[in-house]
Symmetry: C2
Subunit: 416 residues, 2 copies
Amino acid sequence: MNIGILTIGNEITGGRIQDTNSAMIARAMHRQGWIVTRMMSVGDNYDDIHDALAYLLSHVEALIITGGLGPTADDITTEAVAKAFGLELLRDEAVLARIKDLFAKRGLPWTENNAKQALFPKGAKIIENPLGTAAGFAVYKGKKVVMVIPGVPREAEKLTLDGVIPIIREAFPDAALHVKSRTFRLFGIAESAVDEALSADHLGERGIGVGFYPHFPENHLVITVREASEEKAQTLFAEACKIVEMRLGRYIFAKDDESLAGNIARLLIERSLSVSTAESCTGGLIADSLTDIPGSSEYFERGVVSYSNEAKKALLNVPDNVIAEHGAVSEETARLMAEGIREMSKTDLGLSVTGIAGPSGGSDEKPLGTTYIALAAREKTFCSHYTFRWNRRWNKIAASQAALLMLWRYLKGEIE
Amino acid sequence: MNIGILTIGNEITGGRIQDTNSAMIARAMHRQGWIVTRMMSVGDNYDDIHDALAYLLSHVEALIITGGLGPTADDITTEAVAKAFGLELLRDEAVLARIKDLFAKRGLPWTENNAKQALFPKGAKIIENPLGTAAGFAVYKGKKVVMVIPGVPREAEKLTLDGVIPIIREAFPDAALHVKSRTFRLFGIAESAVDEALSADHLGERGIGVGFYPHFPENHLVITVREASEEKAQTLFAEACKIVEMRLGRYIFAKDDESLAGNIARLLIERSLSVSTAESCTGGLIADSLTDIPGSSEYFERGVVSYSNEAKKALLNVPDNVIAEHGAVSEETARLMAEGIREMSKTDLGLSVTGIAGPSGGSDEKPLGTTYIALAAREKTFCSHYTFRWNRRWNKIAASQAALLMLWRYLKGEIE
C-alpha cells in the first residue's frame, strides 16, 4: 500500500511556514502499516499542481493533498484537481448551508466569495470538517483515490484520522488492518537501555511494532499492533502494553496525550494536597509547569525563585552558615530550601532545585550541570543528585522535569 | 531561477521526524530572489531517489538534496546520486584526513566504515562542513547543478548559506543579486497595522521586499533588498531599515538573532541595575525568561510566584484589605506587588503581573485574559492593563512578553 502526500501553498515553497502536515500524515499512515513513498510540496499554481498530481499518481495508490481550500483567489486546489481529472465543479447545498450557519454563529458577515468552499468536483465524496469551513473531498481515479483536506494543521489532523484513513481502508480492504497504538512517555532512560529492557520479550517477532522518538526532555516509546482481526489486535495490544509497563513502568510518567504536570495535578487534587516550589537554577520553570494546568490554584500555593543567598534566607529560612559551609548548590541547601518553602507556605509538600545551569560556574568538585533536587513532605525530606550535560536552557528543562518526576513518584507512593 | 529541494530519509517518510531543512532552504532561496517550485521527500531507497532526481531535474535548474550522508549502510545518497549520473565514486584524501582528525580530537575510535564519508562522485566539487564529518558536494549536469548537503539541521543551514548559495550564484551569474536582509522582532502590533504604518512609503515600488511572519507572541517583519550592485543594495537596505525604525520603532524589541530577555540583560548589566519579579498568572514564566541568559545572577535577585493571597501578603506586603476591596487581579494589587517585591528584595526594579489566564475565572467586569502589569522604580510605579484573548498557555506567554516589554521600554527611557 503506497501512499503519496502533496502539500500545496506558496507559503510552503517560499519558506514562510513550516509544513507540519506532511509529517503528521506520514506518521498516521505508518501506524496503519502503509508506506509513504513520496512527499511533495508545490506552490498555488495550476501547472505545478497538475504535473505533481500526474507524477505522484503514477507512483502511489492513494494520494493525500492538503492546503489551498480557502475562500480567496489564490486557493485553487479544488479547481486544479477537478481540471486534472476533467471533472466539472458542482455546488454542494448541504455544505453551503453549513458554512453560512458557521458564519452566522460566529457573527461574521457573509460574502459571496465564501460560497467557493461549497464547490466540489462532480462525483466527489465529501469529507466533513467539524472544525472549520473548508470541507475535504475524495475523488476516485480507476483503482486509485485522491483525498483533499484543508491545510490548517488542527483541521488536517482531524480529517486525516476521521476522514482519510476510513476512506483508504474502504478503498483498499486488503490493506485495512485493525490498528492499536499507545505512546508511553518516558524520562530518565536512553534508547539503548529501552532496547535492552525489552530485548528478552522479542516484541518484533510477536508482531508488536516498537518506535522510539526523542522529544527532549522526554522520550516517547510508541507501541503499535496491526492485525487482520479486531479480537487478535486487542489481545496482542493488551499483551504489549503489559510488557512495556512491567519492563519500563518506573520510567513511564504519562501515556498518549497526558502530561506530567497534568498527572501530578490530578493526584494532588484527588488527595487534597498542596505544594510550593523553591527554585534556583530552573528559574521558575517548575512553577510555570505546575501552573499550566487549569485550576492550579487549588494545589499550588506559591513559588519562589531564590537566586540570591539573601532570598534563600529571607524566603526559605536557609541559614547563611549552611550556604557558606556547603555551598548554594549542595544537598544540604536543597533540603533546607524544600523544608523552608514547605514551612513558610504551610503546604503539604515543598519542592526545591538548586544547581549550576551553565555555561560557566562549574568546578572539579561540582561540574557544570550539577543539580540537587529535594522534596519535603511531613514525614521526611527526599533528595536526589544529577549532573546534566546539556546547554543552559536544556539543563533548566531537564532539572525541572526531574523535579516534577520526583513529586510524581512520591504521589504514587514509589518513593518513601 | 527555479530551485528544487529533495530531502532523503526513511525517518521523514515514516513521520519519525519533522523535516525542517526544506523550509529553511526555501526561505534562504526566497531571500536570494530565487523560486522554489518543487520540494520532495523520499526514503533511503535507490529507485525512489533515482526517479525523484530525474523528475526534479526536468523541472528545475538547481537541485538541493539533504540527508543520507552518514556513515551507516542505510545512508545511500552519495551512491544514488553517482549512479543516477553514471559517475564512479572516488576517495578525497583531504576530506578523509579531516574526518580522521575530527575522530582523534573527539577521542572516538576510528572504524573503517567512516571512510565512506570521504567518497564523492568523480568531478564533484566538495562543500566543506566545518560542523561535522559529512562534507557536501556539487555535481554539474549540463547547465544544471545538483548540490548534496548533510541532513543535520545545524549543518544543513551552515552549508546552505556558505556552500549552496555561492555555488548557485556562480553557476547562474544572471540570477546572482546582492542581497541584504534584516528581521525586526515586533510585539503588540498586528499585520494590518504594520501594513498601514508602512503604506505611505511604497516599499514594494522601491524594490524593498517586506515579509510578515507570526511567531507567537512575536511578529517578525523581514526586510529584503536584492540589487545587481553591492553599493545600490547597501544604500537601499540602509534606507529600508531607517523607514522601518521610524515607522515601527516603538514595537521593535530585537533584531535578527537578538532576544528580548537578552537585550534587557545587556541594558541591566550596562547600567548596574537589578530586578526582581512578582508573578501571579504567568506562574514563573517571566523569571524563567530573565534567568535564561548566562550570568543572570548579576541582575536577577529573586522571583516570587504569589499564587495565594497569603503569599502576596507574606512575600510582597500586599495588605488583605486591598485585595478584598479591589481584587487580586486589579491595578492596585499589581502596583503593590511590584513595589512590594522591589522593597523586600532591595532591587532597583520590581516587575509584577496579575491576571486571569483562564479557561475559567472571568466576570463581566474582569473578563478572561484581564491582566495588570506593573513596574516599580525608585521614582515611580508604572502600570498597564491588557485583555488577552488566547488559551491559558498563550495568555501566560503574552502576559510575560508584555511585562518584559514594559521593563525594556523603561530601560530605554521610553516610559517615564
